[in-house]
């Protein structure tokens, strides 16, 4: 009798087993869903044209880096990529210079109209970019910002700023005020307390919100296409040139587009995990 009970209690209930298996299946499904395009793009980007157009060959056997060479050097993709990196860098710089003080105020102070302010920041994102783009171009032409990377960076700053402010505010709020106040008690001014204590503690989260800015700016096509003619960013350049090219060129372009984001996220993914988690406590 006792043995029977031991036997029974050692057994994992069916419901739990099924749930475990289901969890794994769902995880696999999600993984496949997101990774398949990436894999296909990667394979096709390196495929030699002959293999690519051979219908019966699902996975090509001959690979080449010829497309990359062509895209970068013959189609001036190299210059566009540099432009893109500059725009992304400037966008992050601008949006953090303006956004960080704002998010600090939102996270630390109570004041009248705070929630309205937050809402109105989001409201600026409700304007369709198409409507903004043409007036923006005209203004830029008047003040000499059109066809410069600064112009595009500024436009991207407008796009990412509300998100940076709101996300950073919640990250700063997760750093206990006590740390900052302790620093003030022990002889720092508020600004120094922020720089020496709060900023390092919030850094992982802030890096994560920088990724957000990176991805938005890196992938933005519309404004970049309209504002700039010669100094195009990578997506705008691809949009114009690569789309008229053979299919494998498009995959190469897609691969180039996704690689920096993948690398970037790979390096900061540890911080992405801690963004909402333990390390800030």
């Amino acid at each position: 009798m006792e043995n029977l009970i031991a036997l029974k209690t050692n057994r994992i209930p069916w419901a739990l087993k099924i749930r475990g298996v289901l969890t794994i299946l769902v995880a696999i499904f999600i993984g496949v869903w997101f990774l398949t395009p990436l894999v296909l793009i990667t394979i096709s980007a390196f495929a030699s044209p002959r293999d690519y157009y051979q219908i019966e060959k699902v996975i090509p056997t001959h690979f080449t880096v010829e497309h990359f060479h062509a895209l970068f050097f013959e189609l001036e993709g190299w210059q566009a990529m540099l432009n893109s990196l500059k725009v992304v860098g400037l966008t992050i710089l601008f949006s953090f210079t303006v956004g960080l003080p704002a998010s600090y105020a939102l996270s630390r102070y109570k004041f009248r109209g705070k929630s309205f302010l937050k809402l109105s920041m989001l409201a600026s994102r409700m304007f369709p970019v198409m409507i903004l783009a043409i007036p923006l171009l005209i203004i830029y032409m008047k003040i000499g910002l059109s066809d410069t990377i600064y112009g595009v960076a500024l436009a991207h700053t407008i796009m990412v700023l509300p998100l940076i402010i709101l996300v950073s505010a919640s990250i700063l709020a997760s750093v206990s005020v006590d740390y900052e106040e302790a620093a003030m008690i022990f002889g720092l001014s508020r600004i120094h307390a922020f720089l020496k204590i709060t900023l390092p503690l919030a850094l992982p989260g802030l890096v994560a919100s920088a990724i957000l800015a990176f991805i938005i700016s890196w992938n933005e096509v519309f404004i970049a296409t309209i504002l700039n003619l010669t100094n195009r960013t990578l997506p705008a350049h691809i949009f114009r040139s690569a789309m008229d090219s053979p299919d494998y060129f498009k995959f190469t372009a897609g691969f180039i587009m996704s690689i920096p984001a993948v690398i970037f996220i790979f390096f900061v993914r540890k911080h992405l995990v801690t963004m909402w988690g333990i390390s800030l406590k």
Binding site: D178, A182, I185, F186, L188, S189
Partner: protein
């Protein structure tokens, strides 16, 4: 050593009066405890003294220096926070050295002082660790070391022991007290724990609803509470309060209610006859000053039914149902009483407190 003077201090949050017109004199080298229930304004007062909170009105002096509108960094103070606030991105050593570095102490002096403070708090072996690798008690020690390393003019402590487990709290109590005695630094200690206040404070300042209720040494606070709030807040279990009337029987004054008649103690007589117009008072008596009769018959007697027994084994707390309400009696040792039994109890006449019914103030003040 610095004495701290607070004059007419007010702090309002919108319309809420957190601290209301407060005067307090803290002597140099004194360990004063601000005691009160949560939300009574004691922490707000501490933050006003630290400069983290800007006062609405009033003044804060360190010796003769007006500190009222100085930022915290100009005040030469230290603080121990309730949740330690030990910076998680710095090693323990860096945490302790931080206040010295900010104040630009020479490297040698910093080393010496960190060694001194960590030795005093017995955390030398933890210096290389990050706060996340420490237990709560160890983190608390680091926070205290960081606070004393600069030898501040005033040391502020905001419920520093309330996040520790019970055993550790008891041990840290004596350690903090000893440390303060050794350093003779003026210390302002906020707590809601009356035992901490009684055991640690040179003096205790009792707060309620933003107002100072009473300041004094623990002996005075316990035995001569200024009003019903202090009387009820200090002491466990709580003091019994009984509404009584003054009645004259054969030219002798008695405190009376339902089936309780107590002759007026000599020490009250002068005060009560002065106010012969007032008839209603509140009688206060602590549970440990009520005795089960059989031990002595010299005190006035009342009867009650045993409603509930708290068997603490060291003591027995008896809840009695009487005609004038519940009465709590504390008796040392293990008592065996069955519920619903009727028993007689007597009051220690010399331990009776008397308060005005309308104001709640003690008639002795």
């Amino acid at each position: 050593m610095t004495n701290v003077t607070i004059r007419g201090l007010c702090k309002y949050f919108d319309r809420v009066k957190a601290v209301d017109n407060l005067d307090l004199e803290i002597k140099a080298g004194e360990f004063i405890v601000l005691l009160g229930p949560s939300g009574c304004g004691k922490t707000t007062l501490l933050r006003c003294i630290s400069g983290l909170e800007r006062v609405t009105a009033g003044r804060v002096f360190f010796d003769d220096h007006d500190m009222t509108y100085l930022s915290p960094k100009g005040r030469d103070i230290s603080m121990v926070f309730q949740n330690y606030a030990v910076w998680p991105h710095m090693r323990v050593e860096k945490n302790i050295a931080f206040p010295l570095k900010v104040k630009k102490f020479p490297q040698q002096e910093i080393k010496k002082r960190v060694a001194w403070a960590s030795d005093l708090l017995r955390i030398e072996e933890l210096l290389d660790r990050y706060p996340a690798q420490l237990s709560g008690g160890q983190r608390q020690r680091v926070a205290v070391a960081r606070a004393i390393v600069v030898e501040p003019r005033v040391l502020l402590m905001d419920e520093p022991l309330s996040n520790l487990d019970a055993l550790l709290r008891v041990r840290m109590r004596s350690e903090v007290k000893k440390l303060q005695q050794k350093l003779t630094v003026t210390t302002i200690y906020v707590t809601h724990d009356q035992v901490e206040a009684m055991t640690m404070g040179d003096r205790i300042a009792v707060f309620n609803q933003g107002m100072l209720q009473q300041v004094g040494i623990s002996d005075v606070i316990y035995h001569n509470p200024a009003n019903t709030f202090v009387a009820g807040f200090i002491g466990s279990p709580q003091m019994n309060f009984i509404e009584v009337e003054i009645e004259s029987i054969n030219n002798e004054l008695y405190l009376r209610t339902k089936n309780l008649t107590i002759p007026l103690n000599d020490k009250f007589k002068a005060k009560v006859s002065e106010h012969s117009g007032i008839r209603n008072y509140i009688l206060g008596i602590r549970p440990e000053h009520i005795y089960l009769t059989g031990q002595s018959k010299t005190y006035p007697v009342t009867k009650g039914k045993v409603y509930f027994l708290e068997l603490l084994r060291s003591d027995t707390i008896i809840h009695l149902e009487t005609e004038f309400g519940f009465l709590v009696v504390k008796e040392p040792g293990d008592l065996k009483l069955e519920e619903n039994r009727e028993i007689e109890v007597s009051f220690d006449l010399n331990r009776i407190h008397l308060f005005y019914e309308d104001t709640g103030n003690s008639i002795m003040t």
